[in-house]
């Protein structure tokens, strides 16, 4: 019987002898590998789903730009072989707004973490959703600030331990999906990183949809979050999320709560349509917005929560 070391060596040799290209290699900046993400991290899965979704969407690759903020998820942009834009902390959405409005023919993705998008960048998120800028925002929610060593985030559950809540978090977290819907997002979905097929389908829908789309992914962070809360390895955490998740498509996002003791509600909550900022900007260009409050063809502001 061979020792594990021998087996590994043999495997390595085999790999070297027959190098296989990853099916997504053309979408990756392979020269930037290996990536910086920890073993067990959920971002890799989300990234994989994103690559599949980009292919499935059929959108021309030259017209897709990915914008990210700062943090672990923020590093996604640097590994994608697209127009990629690694910005300052919390500001991915305003950068993406400038990019989209100055070059409307492009598809602009924003990929960032919960801290970047909802703490330092929270104001930008709510206003971009309100304006209905045609962006697809992907939030990898790992329940803490991973890159800086595991501090409390606006997503950290009540009671959870982080480096800045050493005896437990005393703040209630946001329900990001509800927030997005209230602000007027036209597509809102949440999955865990183990819902790869659903997640991929949601990403395709979000990317091809006109309007502000928000896809949240609950992803394990074993290194800085799981360890302090004794939740085991990345696989244990991912399983923990998946086992407790319940799919409730079309539910009122306010009821789509993340209750780690009972159940984590996932699914597609909002898929609606209303004019984007650029649609309405055409009215400004043509000086056809009309007189407020007596517009002749009054189109009421449709709430983002019109289901399906």
């Amino acid at each position: 019987m061979k020792t594990p070391t021998e087996t590994t060596t043999r495997l390595r040799r085999q790999t070297r002898a027959r190098p296989k290209a990853h099916p997504h290699d053309h979408l990756l900046r392979t020269d930037r590998m290996p990536h910086i993400w920890c073993p067990g991290c959920g971002i890799g899965t989300v990234f994989g789903c994103l690559l599949t979704a980009i292919e499935k969407s059929g959108l021309p690759l030259d017209d897709i730009a990915i914008v990210s903020g700062i943090g672990c998820t923020g590093r996604m942009a640097g590994y994608l072989n697209l127009d990629s834009f690694h910005t300052t902390h919390g500001r991915a959405i305003p950068f993406a707004t400038g990019l989209k409005l100055a070059r409307p023919q492009g598809t602009v993705l924003v990929a960032s973490g919960d801290g970047d998008l909802f703490a330092i960048g929270g104001n930008h998120f709510i206003h971009a959703a309100r304006r209905n800028i045609d962006l697809t925002v992907i939030c990898v929610n790992n329940l803490n600030y991973g890159m800086t060593g595991g501090q409390v985030a606006p997503s950290t559950p009540f009671g959870a331990r982080t480096t800045t809540t050493p005896v437990g978090n005393i703040e209630e977290p946001f329900n990001f999906c509800s927030l997005a819907a209230e602000c007027g997002a036209t597509y809102v979905a949440r999955w865990t990183s183990l819902h790869a097929r659903w997640l991929t389908d949601s990403l395709v829908e979000a990317m091809t949809k006109k309007g502000f789309s928000y896809v949240e992914v609950l992803a394990p962070c074993p290194t800085t979050f799981g360890r302090r809360n004794r939740l085991g390895s990345g696989a244990d955490l991912a399983r923990f999320f998946h086992e407790r998740s319940v799919i409730r498509n079309g539910i009122d996002p306010r009821e789509a709560v993340l209750d780690f003791e009972k159940h984590l509600v996932v699914g597609k909550f909002v898929d609606s349509t209303r004019p984007t900022f650029l649609d309405n900007y055409e009215l400004v260009r043509r000086r056809e917005v009309g007189e407020w409050p007596f517009r002749e063809e009054h189109t009421p502001h449709t709430s983002g929560r019109a289901h399906n």
Binding site: V67, G78, F95, N123
Partner: protein, 392 residues
Amino acid sequence: MERWHYHALQEAIDSSTLLVQGNRACALGALDAGVRFFAGYPITPSSEIMETMAYELPRVGGVFLQMEDEIASICACIGAALTGTLAMTATSGPGFSLMQEAIGYATMVEAPLVIVNVMRVGPSTGRPTAPSQGDVMQARWGTHGDHPAVVLAASNVADMYRLTMAAVRFAQRFRTPAILLADEVVGHMRESFSTELIGRYRLTSGDFDFTPSYVHPEMVREVHPPHVLGSKTHPHVTGLMHDETGFPTDDPAKSDQFLRQLHDKIGNHRDELCLYDVKNEGKGRVCIVAYGSCARSARAALRLAEQEGLPVEVLHLYTLFPLPVEIIQEVARRVEFMLVPELNLGQYAREIRKMAENWTTVISMGKVDGTLLTPREIVDRVAELIGKYESV
């Protein structure tokens, strides 16, 4: 390109708007220089720039957007700038403070954009409708890290038009953010304004090239290749220290080279960047070095001094940074005093002292009460200096 077919200034004049406000002149200058993206946030005393843009930009195919704060405004401008669109934002002190991080980012990723700061009395909320020049050093050193800066200062309504154009030109040519400073009084002042006046002052010949990846031929070796998003080359743009490929690097040699190149592309072109005007050249024992609204007082003080037989010359600086070392030292060699009137407590006088103290005595004349320095005050100080010298 068709972008040039619109002449905002001409239209303003044709519609017999002969009395133009400084802030409006700034916006007209930006439109005529080809600015087609503006994102801003309301703040006194700069709001009229944004209001003019809100009206004019949609008419010329540009995009105007009022953002949720100044941080978002400048970030949106950088996003637009990296698609090859000329972008501008305008603000005042408090908003300028919020923009600092992104100014560093724009410098790092070499995004051309123009930031106008119509200065109020600070610090903090200060006096929003009173003039000041308190943000001079912030414009130079506001963002963290060693970075170059291009900072211009406008002294009247015509300046607001032509220096905005110059700022656009510099931003584009050197692929860097360019900052235009104006005092509250310059922004809010209304003056008669004509094409002839502008023609006389015109700094920019209109030979702009607006193609997205444009780099001036002479600059190719110094400016890193522009990474234009949407150009099918799949560039990567990051605020991390990167090399010419755009990808992050921790290599000490490459970091060093990158930062030095950022500085050199500005520092090596002071001859082009440093705009100034010398009045009564070589005839003064005292040189009044001034910029912004104070330069206007200094020019008036020169006429007063001539009547009173005081030997004065005036160095009017339009470019504050990069430092106009050559002209400062040239003047310093021939005068006994350099008097620096400014609406702060000697921010720029310190810079001049560093450059000129080997040859002359640099006297700071600061005022921070929110009123302008009058020509009389300046002349009295000149007389005092000369009198003091005579008695020694």
